[in-house]
């Protein structure tokens, strides 16, 4: 890492670009200069690194440590060994919660990626005016705090809310219900809020990726007689492959670690049908004062996230 950083900001490139007359001098001071660059590189990295170590790595390590302790947050902690983990794995609530979050991946990740690709195919290269408008509209859910999104959707989904009003309007009055309170459908209803929030992000990523594609590829495809669908399949899709991986990773993490949305809409209800692991972590830590158990569950959740994300990266890796 250090080498990468040093080379990317070290001066040789800039010096050579400035012309040949300094080349000799540059070579003469090269070694000391390289050393200074290395130190300076560290200096540039340091503020971000310190924040990252202090606020991300250190708390993470602390969580790992706490997961082996019995601690209520105040009294001296006692060693718990693997007890916290054993307790968690014996609780069926964990498996249900994990299952729910896996279902959420479909709604937070799979569907938004499809929607994002669809929107990209529609907008790419065809829409000239109003592009900013589309971007803003679809990206808006990303800007709003999820707590506000959650409360808004709770009202939209309520028995007299907009969703049911629309269903009534199109003659589907028979299926209206308080969606988030429905035992079978609450999780799906919750998932669609995620779809709404994540689709714009995916679309933005894909649009950015698609703009890098050389227009001559599209020209060549047109000359070969490829229609829009073929162009999308053979030019656009391979072109945004990396962006799809990134979108998949980001949205999957959002699904597995989802908390704020669930907390503000259903709080795990009805009857635990929308419990997710992060919600259980919160309850253990803040309702029950079991910091050790909460940390152990958080560690398990982290391992799960890493495993799923690694799987995504493995399956979408570039064969070449």
């Amino acid at each position: 890492m250090a080498r990468d950083l040093t080379t990317s900001i070290s001066p040789p490139r800039a010096t050579s670009a400035r012309g040949g007359e300094r080349a000799a001098g540059s070579r003469r001071v090269r070694r000391p200069h390289w050393r200074g660059g290395r130190a300076r590189g560290w200096l540039y990295v340091f503020p971000a690194l310190a924040v990252y170590l202090g606020f991300a790595i250190w708390p993470a390590l602390n969580t790992l440590r706490l997961s082996f302790l019995n601690w209520d947050g105040i009294l001296p902690a006692t060693s718990a060994g693997l007890d916290n983990y054993i307790k968690i794995f014996r609780d069926s609530a964990l498996y249900e919660a994990i299952l729910h979050s896996l279902v959420l991946i479909v709604f937070f990740s799979f569907i938004p990626i499809c929607v994002g690709l669809f929107m990209t195919a529609l907008l790419m290269g065809k829409v000239r005016r109003g592009m900013t408008f589309f971007r803003i509209v679809f990206f808006l859910p990303q800007v709003l705090p999820l707590v506000a999104v959650g409360i808004t959707w709770r009202w939209l989904y309520s028995d007299t809310g907009v969703v049911n009003q629309l269903l009534d309007l199109v003659g589907l009055g028979g299926i209206t219900r308080a969606w988030l309170g429905d035992y079978q459908l609450a999780l799906v209803a919750l998932g669609f809020i995620g779809t709404w929030a994540m689709s714009g992000l995916c679309m933005m990523l894909f649009l950015a990726g698609a703009q890098k594609i050389d227009p001559s590829l599209y020209e060549a495809a047109t000359l070969d007689g490829a229609n829009s669908w073929r162009q999308f399949l053979h030019v656009t899709l391979p072109g945004v492959r990396k962006e799809i991986t990134i979108a998949g990773v980001i949205t999957t993490i959002a699904a597995l670690a989802s908390f704020d949305l669930v907390f503000t809409t259903t709080n795990g209800g009805p009857a635990g049908q929308t419990n997710v692991p992060a919600l259980l972590v919160y309850r253990l830590a803040f309702n029950e004062g079991d910091i050790g158990g909460a940390s152990a569950l958080a560690v398990v959740l982290t391992v799960l996230v890493i495993a799923v994300v690694s799987a995504i990266r493995y399956f979408t890796r570039d064969e070449s």
Partner: protein, 444 residues
């Protein structure tokens, strides 16, 4: 080009390292601090005349701020600095701030969030002041019982007193007068049977009988209100207090649970109850979308403003015509930090809470006063509440909410009632899940 000389960047690195170390040191502490040893305090009931400044951390406003103002008016040399934190953040942060070196002298007490402060010795046992001031006669005994616990803070109703109540709340039934008279319900229900008949009549008239916020606490508050009148008070108390052998798997709780399920079956509350927040249930009731709402007197101020003369209040009626005068309630209570330099002044504030002046403030703040004999002269909705509450307080019939029974209980109660409403849980399963949480905390 040379922006930073080596000397300067080394200094910067050193500074940054120092910052990181400080940060990590902060993150690493906690849990290693030894429990504070109880220091000797000379208990006195007189407030010194020297200038004294106390800090008070709280989340309920009103009545806290007005009570503080009234107290400092009586004792001009005392300054109390209020530190208000919204409830959700308060319960998360109060434990840490009470264990810090700059702990507030007085803190609003929340048993769930703060009971680990008792074994840590961070809040004072108020026993000596209670004796010196005679609090047993000044506060309703049941309201002090809930604030007492053993040293491990597992069993309530015994051991030391860790807080004194400043205002009381009580759960009962609000009703919409207009809807009831339209549905042909002439009198306020006197028995549980009459209440059920009224629900049926309202339903028959094509109206929604009850608003219910089962997404949050409204669902189990209704269950709790039913349990208060179908179950045995002693058995319930011993269960919530964590007395050995306490159990909720009893016939009274069975009856309350089955009644709730029956009401769900008959459509006495909307199908959307499980997705309705407490605030939304309150709003629905106040807009005239239902005839009844079961909640606490904390909703009175809102309902009075919205519904004017059209709203009334009664306690969940007993099965027989003789009223049981039992109702669930909590209190806005205050504890004293063991780190306070002026525990005697803080205790004088707690004593002030039981005074007639304080009673007026507590009542105006939408609560029931600690001084149950205070003349309130209230009319309308608040008059109804005062009329219903006084016999309960004098009967020593205020019982704590069921979520006091164990720290994880609320996460069994809310989903459990949702399960009952959506018919995915049987009464036995529900009570079993509550008892499992109890057993996990108290030992079976």
């Amino acid at each position: 080009m040379h922006m930073t000389t080596p000397g300067r960047w080394q200094a910067l690195v050193a500074l940054g390292t120092a910052a990181t170390l400080t940060l990590t040191a902060c993150a690493g502490t906690g849990g290693t601090t030894a429990p504070a040893t109880a220091k000797k305090v000379d208990v006195s009931t007189t407030v010194p005349s020297d200038p004294v400044t106390l800090t008070l951390a709280y989340s309920n406003d009103p009545p806290t701020k007005t009570l503080v103002d009234a107290f400092t008016k009586l004792h001009p040399n005392v300054t109390i600095k209020p530190q208000m934190t919204p409830f959700n953040d308060y319960v998360k942060s109060i434990k840490l701030s009470m264990s810090s070196d700059s702990a507030p002298d007085i803190a609003q007490y929340n048993p769930g969030a703060m009971n680990s402060l008792v074994p840590a010795g961070l809040i004072l046992d108020l026993g000596p002041w209670s004796k010196a001031y005679g609090w047993d006669g000044k506060f309703p005994p049941a309201s002090l019982e809930v604030l007492s616990s053993d040293k491990a803070a597992k069993r309530f109703g015994t051991g030391g007193l860790y807080a004194a109540p400043g205002a009381l709340s009580v759960v009962g039934v609000y009703y919409n007068k207009e809807i009831l008279s339209k549905a042909g319900v002439k009198d306020v229900p006197k028995t549980l049977g009459e209440f059920e008949a009224a629900l049926a009549k309202v339903k028959g008239a094509g109206q929604t009988p009850l608003s219910l916020g089962a997404l949050q606490v409204g669902g189990f508050h209704l269950w709790n209100a039913l349990l208060n009148v179908t179950g045995d008070v002693k058995a319930y108390r011993s269960w919530v207090y964590g007395e050995p052998g306490g159990t909720i798997e009893n016939p009274g709780a069975q009856k309350a649970t089955k009644m709730l399920m029956d009401w769900a079956d008959k459509g006495y509350f909307p199908e959307s109850a499980n997705a309705t927040a407490d605030a939304d249930a309150l709003a629905n009731f106040s807009k005239g979308k239902s005839a009844f709402l079961v909640t606490g007197n904390w909703a009175a101020t809102t309902l009075e403003t919205e519904m004017k003369e059209n709203v009334g209040f009664f306690l969940m009626p007993s099965e027989s015509t003789t009223p049981l005068n039992v109702a669930s309630g909590a209190s806005v209570a205050y504890a004293i930090s063991a780190k306070s330099k002026y525990p005697n002044v803080a205790a004088a504030f707690l004593d002030f809470l039981s005074s007639p002046e304080a009673a007026k403030i507590e009542f105006d703040g939408g609560f029931m006063p600690v001084d149950t004999k205070a003349e309130l002269g209230a009319t309308g909705l608040r008059g109804d509440i005062a009329k219903a509450f006084t016999p309960v307080a004098q009967n020593n019939g205020i019982v704590p909410f069921p979520d006091y029974a164990s720290p994880g209980m609320i996460d069994k109660l809310t989903p459990g009632v949702q399960g009952l409403i959506s018919k995915k849980m049987t009464a036995d399963d529900f009570l079993r899940s509550l008892q499992e949480s109890w057993d996990g905390h108290h030992g079976s």
